[in-house]
Symmetry: C2
């Protein structure tokens, strides 16, 4: 891999940047993108940064038919001292390779791709919005491109990284959300692809989302696919509950995505000596804790929202109201510290921040 370089083709047609106030998640994209191809027997090759542009792909490309694709999501932050910061990007690239393995996609060189991402972010750094809570969303994804209609792993892939400036998640302060517990549809099951960040998991979640959306809930809380008893995760967040002083989150059981925010929350709680456990937790147990007055906090964790307090949970006709619809103390402290670290306002004792500097181009 040492001889790898990233070829750069500058865009000579720079786009107008959207107004920070009007930024919507995932709607506008920067001037460049990173692309790398895979084919056999060469492996990954032809790493390049090119002007952001449409792809030209055969209609028979496997990605359109058999869903062999994976992706990641992370952010670049404009720190208050002007630095450009990434948050644990090595974890995202390790997870990408984990997803690759499940989907029979050849592994990437994590270090090389991280370098390429840094180079791309640096090139498009003017696109990182500066206002509080805003960031540049980084979306690496891999698609199978072999023009073949057989159900088998592809022999050709494209890894692409695109960048999208995103506005503040909490424009009007942090308001707890209403979540519906899903009893009919299943997102993922042990032995399936729940642990991987692959399109199929999200495709299968749309229907439930649509149903609860009409009832005024913002997201679905998924239960295990086997017994529909145990709590798994929310749409695109892992979930935590504070019960009688202890913070509990479902253990990684093979069908839950191993969230990087989740992992960071657990480390942070341990650092603060707040009791935290990863274990199986049923809706029964949660409801009983609520009836007993012991359910103190509930919140989701994910790259988009960092921490998203849950104010109400609807389950089998019953309603659980958490902390009188206010964000809890632990959730607040987690949010402030985590986003403080991300924006360089709070010291990072964990070594989570990776700076993006004008480096020698990747070699």
């Amino acid at each position: 891999m040492e001889e790898w370089t990233v070829k750069v083709e500058q865009s000579d047609n720079k786009k107008e940047k959207p107004d920070t106030e009007q930024l919507e998640f995932g709607r506008s994209f920067t001037d460049h993108m990173f692309v790398m191809d895979y084919s056999e027997p060469v492996g990954w090759h032809d790493a390049r940064i090119v002007p952001y542009q449409p792809l030209t792909i055969e209609p028979s490309a496997m990605a359109f038919h058999y869903g062999q694709s994976v992706f990641e999501g992370m952010k670049a932050y404009h720190a208050q001292n002007g630095d450009i910061q990434l948050f644990r990007p090595d974890k995202n690239l390790a997870r990408l390779n984990h997803s690759n393995d499940r989907l029979c996609i050849p592994p990437i060189d994590e270090e090389f791709v991280l370098k390429a991402i840094k180079q791309l972010v640096y090139m498009d750094k003017e696109w990182i919005p500066k206002a509080e809570g805003t960031s540049l969303y980084i979306r690496p994804f891999i698609i199978s491109t072999e023009p073949y209609l057989g159900v088998a792993p592809s022999h050709h892939y494209k890894l692409i990284v695109i960048l999208s400036p995103v506005g503040a998640y909490y424009k009007e302060g942090i308001n707890p959300v209403k979540i519906a517990v899903e009893n009919h549809y299943v997102r993922a099951v042990k032995g399936g692809t729940g642990e991987a960040k692959t399109g199929g998991n999200y495709a299968s979640s749309l229907k439930a989302q649509e149903v609860v959306g009409k009832q005024g809930y913002s997201q679905v809380l998924w239960l295990d696919g086997v017994e529909k008893k145990y709590i798994e995760e929310v749409g695109s967040m892992n979930v935590f509950f504070k019960i009688n002083g202890e913070v509990v989150t479902p253990a990684l059981n093979g069908s839950i995505l191993s969230g990087i925010t989740r992992d960071s929350v657990i480390e942070m709680l341990k650092y603060w000596d707040i009791p935290v456990s990863e274990r199986r937790i049923s809706m029964e147990e949660l409801y009983q804790a609520y009836l007993d007055g012991q359910l103190e906090e509930a919140f989701g964790t994910g790259t988009a929202a960092v921490i998203s307090p849950i104010g109400e949970l609807a389950w089998e006709g019953k309603k659980i109201h958490v902390n009188e619809g206010e964000i809890g103390n632990v959730a607040k402290r987690l949010y402030d510290t985590m986003s403080g670290i991300q924006y360089g306002k709070v010291e990072d004792p964990f070594g989570w921040i990776v700076k993006v500097k004008e480096a020698a181009p990747v070699k």
Copy 2:
């Protein structure tokens, strides 16, 4: 819909047709394809037959990220009297809409799309191979094309139909296959997307396929995702067993694809007064029947193979040998009759055949 027409742009650069002897499934494509777009509030529009060509798609198109896509598979046969025949295509288009519903994709006008497919097949009719057992595979698929990174149903789609000439499935006579029963990985679970023909189901199947492939098995027999006890289906086939004179196939339970060959087999058996039942069947029961000498036949059913006899099943270290590795009488009769109907050699008492004729272009 009455004003709909299919615009036609003829290819002026006709490709060379592959040698029938060398035909591989899903590798070569004909001169034209059908395309139709969806956007709101117009709905499906701009139906057109154009030269077969690569697609130009934004890297942020949802299909690459969140797997919101569905597909179908059927065949056009060159009948012995020269007619072009389709086999129950209305069923495929109804299933496409069923898949659409599960994946939150707007429904298509089944009748209109069937007419468009006929027109496309007729245009490229020189591509239908004539040798015994060969056919023209028809692949309709829908992809979400909105350039947006949010997890939500897309507002833009493309329906595309491509055609691929395919060789005979059984070149050297019908040889029963060896199948491994999968105990670890899960393809689909009740409440998930198993009933829909969507990429994610196939993506999630690759890993198990890879594992058993190395052990010399050609496909995986999936068990239910909840108890891993009950038989579901094979890779891209439904499955039937003849036990003590009765033909048994797993009932459609929400996680199994409702195969059109499966449905046709059931109708045909009923027509012949051969006992057939759709019910839950466990591997335990199957193994016991085998030990008792009552497992008389086992076979898969699907558009690709029609009927694929199973000669050996491996399950938890045990081996089940079926009918001394020979195709059984019922499987043979089903194969001969079904493919006889498809190629116009046998009368079709069911009304399954739909002819493709030079019709007035779709209006």
